[in-house]
């Protein structure tokens, strides 16, 4: 179980999280307040124009979603301007938006985690000059 790059492990499967069911300070939410979605924020490692809480890429996800597969994340990023390249080292956080009677409220960002985007493997050509001697 070696970890070639412990700071930016490759995102082989995806991301997951637990939706909050409490308010800031661990107070109970009023009846009717419900989660309406989360937003993934991502920035490149070494990008001095962005920082924790200030992300280059924002990916909104629908209510109830608690995982984002690596493939889905790559597909979502590909639709955004100047997407990160395969193998890029990223920092990410997530926040949650609730709504009550049409009024939204968004949580703070989580602590950031880091990972690298996978590099697509290319199928090799068959060996050549195969024969008996």
């Amino acid at each position: 179980m070696s970890t070639p790059n412990p700071t930016f492990p490759p995102l082989t499967t995806g991301l997951s999280w637990v939706l909050s069911t409490l308010g800031v300070g661990n107070v109970a939410l009023p009846a009717g307040e419900a989660e309406t979605g989360v937003t993934l924020g991502l920035r490149l490692d070494g990008d001095t124009t962005h920082s924790a809480g200030n992300y280059q890429w924002l990916i909104p996800l629908s209510a109830g979603i608690v995982t984002e597969s690596a493939a889905a994340l790559e597909a979502a990023l590909a639709k955004l301007p100047s997407p990160p390249a395969p193998g890029a080292n990223l920092w990410a956080a997530i926040n949650q938006t609730d709504a009550l009677s049409g009024s939204p409220s968004t949580s703070a960002w989580t602590s950031e985690i880091s990972f690298s985007l996978p590099i697509p493997i290319v199928q090799p050509l068959p060996p050549t000059a195969f024969g008996s001697a």
Partner: protein, 370 residues
């Protein structure tokens, strides 16, 4: 106009209605457990010694709180018998009672989840579906015959918002039954198919899921899987006291992505004895479906590739076990003499007769790790 406005205000009452419409939204707390779904993590490799947790000096400890348990047992991390690296957990029972030690994740006031005590790696929700570790029972700590089990591995699951002063608020207390051989390192793979739960009937509770409430699910929170919700767990010889030492090494949590028939073949363990060349694989069969007379389980091995890659027919049969005719909670063992000298890793699988699915595992012989 003012009179009309006054009438309108009166119509807006009663106040209860007004409150219901204007309850203020509260800013939610940020989500928790945000992380990369990884290949696995190490709960403990014991290379850092016996770790503490808050006011608790021993994250792994003897349990002496029940009648019949050894009161003279000791526990340490030392270099007497490591399997991976240079150290392992070393529990010794001098024989004054039954062996019983536990993963004691209590800091003096609260119980942590198991995943909060990782020595390497990071947890994320629903990332793992197995827990594996090496265990050694000293010679003489023999398994129980007649389809019995020497070991009960007890676990507690707690809901993610459950009372942390308890081990299992919103969850329950489960039992896994194991019957490893003595005098050899055994690899144990715990899956989310316990053999019993407290308060439940004397039948197989089945594979524990995420939703549906206990006993169908690990907890009542609807989001935690069995290993997300795991808090304290213990290793107990409840029926037959056995003097001697038990060693544990390389406790890992990981995601099994291959097909794995845990519904019929649960609580898997395997060993290979380098002296006798006995290849052993043990498991607990499904109580509901495997008591019929035509039930037979067959085991195969390969030194080339995982059975998942080869298919069950691609392995070499080393034994089978027929029906036992007994009721619930039956442990089975399949054994054969196979010379694996020099082999790095042997791949094993068990299949129930008439099934296309099977249960598979790797067993490092000379390779490091688990």
């Amino acid at each position: 106009v003012l009179d009309g406005l006054g009438k309108l205000l009166v119509q807006l009452r009663p106040e209860t209605h007004l409150h219901a419409e204007m309850a203020a939204i509260i800013t939610p707390a940020a989500p928790t457990g945000f992380g990369v779904i990884g290949p696995g993590a190490i709960l403990d490799h014991f290379e850092e010694g016996l770790r503490s947790y808050g006011a608790n000096p021993r994250l792994w400890d003897c349990y002496k709180g029940e009648a019949g348990t050894s009161q003279l047992a000791t526990i340490a991390v030392d270099s007497v018998r490591p399997k991976v690296g240079t150290k392992s957990l070393h529990y010794t029972n001098p024989g004054d009672g039954r062996s019983y030690f536990h993963f004691y994740c209590n800091n003096g006031s609260i119980w942590s989840f198991t995943h909060q005590q990782l020595v390497q790696g990071a947890w994320s929700l629903n990332a793992w579906n197995r827990m594996a570790f090496w265990v050694w029972h000293d010679p003489g700590m023999t398994p129980i015959g007649n389809n019995g089990h020497l070991v009960e591995l007890g676990t507690y699951t707690r809901a993610n918002n459950g009372d942390a002063t308890t081990q299992n608020a919103g969850g329950t207390h489960w039992y896994h039954e194991l019957n490893p051989r003595d005098g050899v390192w055994t690899k144990v793979i715990l899956d989310p198919h316990p053999q019993h739960y407290v308060g439940g009937p004397t039948t197989d509770p089945g594979v524990v899921g995420i939703t549906g409430g206990v006993p169908l699910a690990a907890t009542n929170d609807g989001v935690s899987n069995y290993f997300d919700a795991l808090t304290r767990w213990y290793y107990d010889f409840p029926y037959v006291p056995k003097a001697g030492s038990i060693f544990v090494d390389q406790v890992t949590l990981y995601l099994e992505t291959g097909q794995d028939d845990i519904a019929h073949i649960a609580s898997l363990e395997a060993s290979w004895n380098p002296t006798t060349h006995l290849l052993h694989i043990g498991f607990c069969r499904n109580a509901h479906q495997d008591t019929t007379a035509d039930t037979t389980y067959t085991a195969v091995y390969s030194t080339v590739a995982p059975i998942n890659a080869l298919g069950f027919a691609g392995g070499t049969i080393f034994g089978s076990v027929g029906p036992d005719g007994l009721g619930d909670y039956c442990n089975k063992a399949i054994e054969g003499v196979v010379d694996l000298t020099g082999v790095q890793t042997v791949y094993l699988a068990v299949q129930k007769k008439g099934s296309t699915a099977f249960r598979q595992m790797s067993l490092p012989i000379n390779a490091a790790g688990i």
